[in-house]
Subunit: 347 residues, 2 copies
Amino acid sequence: MHELTVAAAGESGLLARIFPLLPQGRSTILGPGDDAALVAVPDGRAVISIDTQTQDQDFRLAWNSGYASTGRDVGWKCAAQNLSDINAMGAVPHTLFISLTLPPDTLVAWVEDFARGVRDAVHAFGADVAVAGGDLGRGREISVTATVLGDLGGRNPVLRSGAQPGDVVAVAGSPGRAAAGFALLESDVPHGSLGPAELALVGSQCRPVPPLAAGPAALDAGANAMMDLSDGLLKDAARLARASGCTLELDRDRLASFTRPLRAAADLLRKDEGGREQLVLEWAAAGGEDFALLSTFPGSTAVPDSFTVIGSVVPTAPGQDHDAVLRGGPGPTAWNATRGWDHFGAA
Amino acid sequence: MHELTVAAAGESGLLARIFPLLPQGRSTILGPGDDAALVAVPDGRAVISIDTQTQDQDFRLAWNSGYASTGRDVGWKCAAQNLSDINAMGAVPHTLFISLTLPPDTLVAWVEDFARGVRDAVHAFGADVAVAGGDLGRGREISVTATVLGDLGGRNPVLRSGAQPGDVVAVAGSPGRAAAGFALLESDVPHGSLGPAELALVGSQCRPVPPLAAGPAALDAGANAMMDLSDGLLKDAARLARASGCTLELDRDRLASFTRPLRAAADLLRKDEGGREQLVLEWAAAGGEDFALLSTFPGSTAVPDSFTVIGSVVPTAPGQDHDAVLRGGPGPTAWNATRGWDHFGAA
C-alpha cells in the first residue's frame, strides 16, 4: 500500500486522499469540487503572486550528503516561498491554490507527505491559510506551482520602488542560513554526522520559516520599500535600488549577527580561517532562498524589533548605476551585486 | 536574433520582452515588478481556478500530420482553458497569472509567440482580461500554469451539484470538434492537404474558443447546475450527475448538430460508413478539450439561445449509480460514462 503510485491511484483517488490533509481556513467560501473556488476578499483588493518550483532546479530529492528531501520538505518550502511574497508587500496571506505535476510513478505517500508539509508549514508560521483549490497533472518531472492571495486590511502595499535617500536599510530574518544548509547538503560530509547547529542550517534550506509577522509590522511602521530575499541579499538589494532610483549601502560589520550562526557549517567545510570568513560572508550576502525581508524605513522611524538595521539609502553618485554595495571590513571594500540566482543563467 | 534562447536572454531580459505583449486590463491596480500584484475585486469575493498544461501531456509541439504547434497555440489554449473554468461558474474572468517553466534552449521567439497567443485569445473571446503577474523558471519540459480570477457581480455561482430531476440538460458550444481536430493532427493525412472544414476542426483543437457569454447568461437564466466540458461530454455529465445525486439522460439524436461538422474529418479518416458514424459519435460524446458548457435548467426555464437542449435530468433508479447515459439511435442504447480523460490513467 505504501508503494501505491499516482498512476495506480488515479486522479480522483489521489484527490480524495490529499484534500483532507490540506489546511482549511476562513477565506474559503466554496472549496474544491467545482470548476473554480470562491474566496472571500473583503478588502475589495487581492494581493496575489504565483511561483513554480521544479525538481532539480528549485528543489532536489537526493543530495550529495545522503539526505533525501521528503514530500513534506517540498510542500513546506512551497508554502514558505509563496507566503513570503505576500509578506513582502506588508499583507497577510489567506489562500493558496496548488497545482502539482507528477511523474506517473510518483508514490501516493510522497504526495500525501507534500500535503502535510503545506499544512505543517502554515501552522508553524502561525498563518491562517487555506488551500482552496488545485490541479493535478502528469509530467516527466515533479513541478509545483502555487498561487497565493493576501489581504491588506484596507492599507496600501509596500513596494520595491519607494526607498528614499536618508532611509535606513533593515532585514527581518537571517540571510545566509539557507545557503549554508545547501552547502552542507551538497558536501561530502554525511548528513548523519551533522550536529544540532548544522542540522538547523539544513532545516533552513529544506523547511525555511519566513518572518510573516514582520511584513505587516513594517507596513504599519511606515516602511518606504520592501521585498523578500529570495535570490540573495546583495542581488535583491540591487533590484530594490534600481526600482527606487538610489543606492543601498550595506555595512559588512552589521551582517555579523547573520554570519555568526553560519560558522558551524563553515568550520566543517573549510580548513583555513580566511576561507571560512569569506564563505560565511558569501552565504549571508549572496545566498538565496531565505525568504527574509529587506525593507527601508525613513531615518526618523522606530524600526520594528523584528528588523536588524544593516545600512542606509544614499543618492546614486553621478555616472554610477543604481546598485547595492557592501562596505567595510577586510577584503573588497565595495562588493556590488553581481552575485545571486538568475533562473536562466544571465546576470 | 531569431535564434536567441531563453538561457542567453536571461530572466530579466525575457521578462522585458514578454510584458509588453501581454493583455492589459482594468482589474490590475499594481502589475508585475513587485513580489506580488494587487488586483481589484470589487465584489468582495473572487472566483479562482488554477490549471497546468505540460508538454506532451496537455499539448504537443509536433504532430504526426506534420503540423507544429506554435507558441501562439499554447498561449491561446492556456487562456481558453482557464477562462473556461470561470465561465463554468457563471462568472466573468478578469485577471490571469501565468507561470512558465522552460527548457533553457527554448527560443525567446517561442515565448513571445506564447504571450501574443494569450493576448489574441483574450481579444478573440471578447474578454477584458489582464495578465497581472507571473513567474519564469527552468525545467526539462515546457509547462504552463495559469491562475485565473473572475467576478460574479454580486450573484451566486452555478455549481455542479444543483441539478434536479425535471431539469433539461443543455450544452453551449459544440463538443467533439477538438477531438476531431486531434484525430486529424495525429493521422497520416498531411496537414498541408486539409481543406477548410478540416482546418477549422484542427483550429478547435489548437485554438479553442470557449463560449464566454454563455456562462453568465446561464446564471442569469436560472441554471441549476453547470460545468465546462474538458474531459468529454459523457464523463463530465457523469461527474455532474454524481455531484447532484441524479441521472443525466442524453438523447443521441440531439447530438446531431454537434456531429454534423465532424463528418468532414471522419470521411477522411474512415472508409466505411458505419465506422464514420461511430467515430463522430465518439468524438461528440467522449472527446475532451472543447471547453463547451454543460448546464441544467429547470424545465420551466427559457434556455438561453446559446444552449442546445440534449437531454433531461431524472431520478437515479434504485440500485443504480448516479451516472450519465446516452440513449436512442442505432448501436448501444445506453452508453455510460466510462470514457474520457483521467490524467493518471485510472477511471
